[in-house]
């Protein structure tokens, strides 16, 4: 498979670390000079830019959190005057103010090339027709993939999210070969195609680039089977650059994180301490090439692990595991840490289980109760009470053995759970804290 930017993607580790140190020192010098928030934070921590003499010294710098971005809303974290910014994106603020990020002309070019890297490793070439079913707007996903495709030279269909039947019609008529969407929307498209009696083999789909929400290996297989394409994962977040932080290669053993542009660390989300290589923890990212919106040790809240062993594809870049969820999505049930993604993984592993589910948390007296709602399909023997009962027991047993807490499974009518065109909301927490 082709490698978009072999100079950086396959750089010997020693050269890469020199480049990272140079860029880290330059970034730290720059933010100390031009971003008040960083100057204040460094001063409070008693750190000068000159104290960063090795990559390990990064750990001396204070973290940056979403709260910092909110406090400096809208432009306080920009490192260049607004007139040098050619694009503004924003991430949704579910609580309080949204966060605003900016890009210079060079930042847009850097971003396009980073996206082109993972699209190329997914197999997209200039011969492909890429249908982008991410919502265009303040969200970075659609634009990132759009620029990446154009940089490669593929043909872009900027569909935006929603209007599933039209998406399917365009896929048929325009002979789309690459689909870009959230994994949950890919399932929605597959289900609609089944209802409409369209055989996915009759389409030209070759590859899917799915992202913007955590999804399991099971869901990957499900999408691959139902849409007859090769499903790939990529990772990114608006605060850092958007999509283009990391992406799958053909070896399918984790996403290569573009370390010439970002330095990753894994920390303990509670203590903030940097964890040894290979540990599971919260991903922290520092940007090395951003001009308008540099980020120093940004706490992504995403839970994952990093693996430095050599990859067969030839890239020397570290591999990041699929995100297991967000540290703030982590549910504490009866004192046990549970990630919704673990539950999804379990459900997909059980034969006959549908991808539509919902987690409901209640408190009865002083006890937390986890209810897993699963949509019934013909596979789950809708009309045979006995088989239904044994299916429920099987799922409950499995959940208990993996999670360490008991859950009660409730089967619900087909298509009764809400469908999502953007990011899926699968957890309802009714516990009063």
């Amino acid at each position: 498979m082709k490698i978009w930017d072999p100079l950086y993607e396959c750089m010997p580790r020693e050269d890469l670390e020199q480049l990272q140190l140079e860029r880290l020192q330059a970034t730290v010098n720059r933010v100390y000079k031009s971003v008040t928030c960083y100057k204040k934070k460094f001063d409070e921590a008693g750190i000068l830019p000159e104290d960063i003499r090795s990559l390990d010294d990064l750990a001396k710098l204070p973290f940056t959190t979403k709260e910092d971005l909110r406090l400096n809303y809208p432009y306080g974290m920009f490192a260049v005057p607004l007139r040098e910014v050619v694009r503004i994106h924003s991430s949704s603020g579910t609580t309080g103010k949204p966060t605003v990020v900016g890009y210079t002309k060079n930042d847009i070019r850097t971003w396009s090339n980073l996206v082109a890297r993972f699209m190329t490793s997914a197999g997209v070439t200039m011969d492909d027709v890429v249908q982008i079913a991410f919502g265009y707007g303040l969200f970075t996903g659609a634009f990132g993939l759009h620029y990446g495709s154009e940089t490669i030279g593929a043909s872009v269909i900027p569909m935006s999210a929603g209007n599933t039947e039209k998406q399917i019609m365009i896929m048929q008529d325009y002979k789309t070969t690459a689909l870009v969407s959230t994994p949950s929307y890919a399932i929605t498209i597959a289900s609609r195609m089944e209802q409409m009696g369209i055989d996915p083999k009759s389409l030209s789909l070759k590859v899917g680039l799915f992202g913007s929400e955590p999804w399991s290996e099971g869901m990957r297989k499900e999408i691959e089977n139902r849409l007859c394409l090769h499903a790939t994962d990529n990772y990114g977040l608006s605060e850092i650059i958007g999509p283009g932080v990391a992406g799958d290669c053909e070896c399918n053993n984790g996403m290569h994180l573009y370390e010439d542009a970002f330095i990753p660390e894994i920390i303990d989300p509670d203590t903030g301490e940097v964890l040894p290589r290979g540990s599971i923890g919260e991903l922290v990212l520092t940007t090395l090439t951003k001009e308008a919106f540099p980020m120093i040790r940004y706490r992504t809240r995403d839970i994952t692990s990093l693996h430095y062993e050599k990859c067969d594809c030839g890239r020397t870049l570290v591999r990041m595991k699929k995100t297991m969820g967000r540290s703030d999505d982590m549910l504490i049930i009866k004192g046990v840490n549970v990630f919704p993604s673990q539950i999804e993984e379990i459900l997909f592993a059980i034969e006959g289980c549908e991808p539509h589910y919902q987690l409901v948390l209640e408190r009865e007296g002083d006890v937390d109760v986890l209810i897993v709602r699963i949509e019934v399909t013909e596979n789950i023997f809708f009309d045979e009470m006995k088989k239904q009962k044994s299916f429920v027991e099987q799922v409950e047993r499995k959940l208990h053995s993996v999670l360490g807490v008991s859950a009660s499974v409730k089967l619900v009518e087909p298509s009764s759970l809400p469908r999502h065109e953007g990011k899926a909301v699968r957890v309802i927490d009714n516990r009063k804290r």
Binding site: E22, Q25, N29, I52, V80, L82, E84
Partner: protein, 247 residues
């Protein structure tokens, strides 16, 4: 080829380079840009040990050269073309070039080989060939610059440190000098660290660049991207100085 890590250089009490890290790959042209006093020349002088570093690493082909003397550094393959040419004005052009091979004479290298290298310099700079018997002081500024480069080449360097080669030269002559720099890289594979006031011209022939300010590196980017960077344009390329957005 050349890898610099956390060097600190002082002029007496003045801390001129603060934790500077940079690298130069084989066959690369890297430009250092920044205002006067930013530390560009100090970086070149630190590498060539004219102003030795107080601490930090300078790795040349994997060996730390930070504590070596200037002549050892030339021997290893790093030559500097100093600011203001500094040719020996009362010596002929040919003698100036021979002096550039001083260490090779000392090492008893065959004179015929050195002579043929002088001919190579004349092929590169035909103007100098016409004036080989002339005193260097009688040459024009552009010719003196060519001579200074030629003299540095006589040591057969793998890395060339060029300090302000276009200073005080007419625009057309500047073009000639820059063309020669590009040719050196293409024909001999020489790696070049280039300090230039004329940032735009330098970035046009460079692969990458570092922006310096008060002894610190502020930016490392592809030369083509630095040309587009508004900060660089405003500060070093002389564009729209006044229009700075006020927070």
């Amino acid at each position: 080829m050349l890898r610099i890590k956390n060097i600190n250089t002082y002029y007496g009490q003045v801390h001129a380079l603060k934790n500077v890290s940079l690298h130069l790959n084989a066959g690369e042209i890297v430009s250092l840009i920044g205002a006067n006093g930013a530390g560009k020349t100090t970086i070149l002088n630190s590498v060539s040990a004219i102003t030795p570093v107080r601490d930090g690493e300078i790795l040349f082909e994997g060996k730390n050269i930070a504590q070596l003397t200037p002549d050892r550094i030339v021997e290893m393959g790093i030559s500097q073309v100093p600011e203001g040419r500094q040719v020996f004005k009362d010596f002929s052009v040919a003698d100036n070039l021979e002096l550039g091979a001083y260490l090779r004479f000392r090492a008893r290298e065959k004179r015929t080989i050195i002579r043929s290298d002088i001919e190579d310099v004349f092929t590169l700079f035909p103007q100098l060939a016409q004036r080989k018997k002339q005193m260097a002081g009688t040459l024009s500024g552009g010719e003196q610059q060519m001579l200074a480069i030629g003299r540095a080449l006589m040591a057969k360097p793998k890395v060339l440190l060029l300090d302000e080669p276009s200073m005080g030269l007419a625009p057309l002559v500047v073009q000639d000098i820059l063309r020669v720099i590009t040719r050196l890289r293409e024909e001999k594979g020489t790696s070049i660290l280039l300090v230039e006031q004329n940032a735009k011209a330098a970035l046009k022939i460079a692969d990458r660049g570092y922006v310096l300010e008060t002894g610190k590196v502020l930016l490392e980017e592809k030369a083509s991207e630095l040309l587009e960077n508004k900060d660089v344009q405003r500060a070093y390329l002389g564009k729209d100085k006044k229009e700075i957005w006020e927070r």
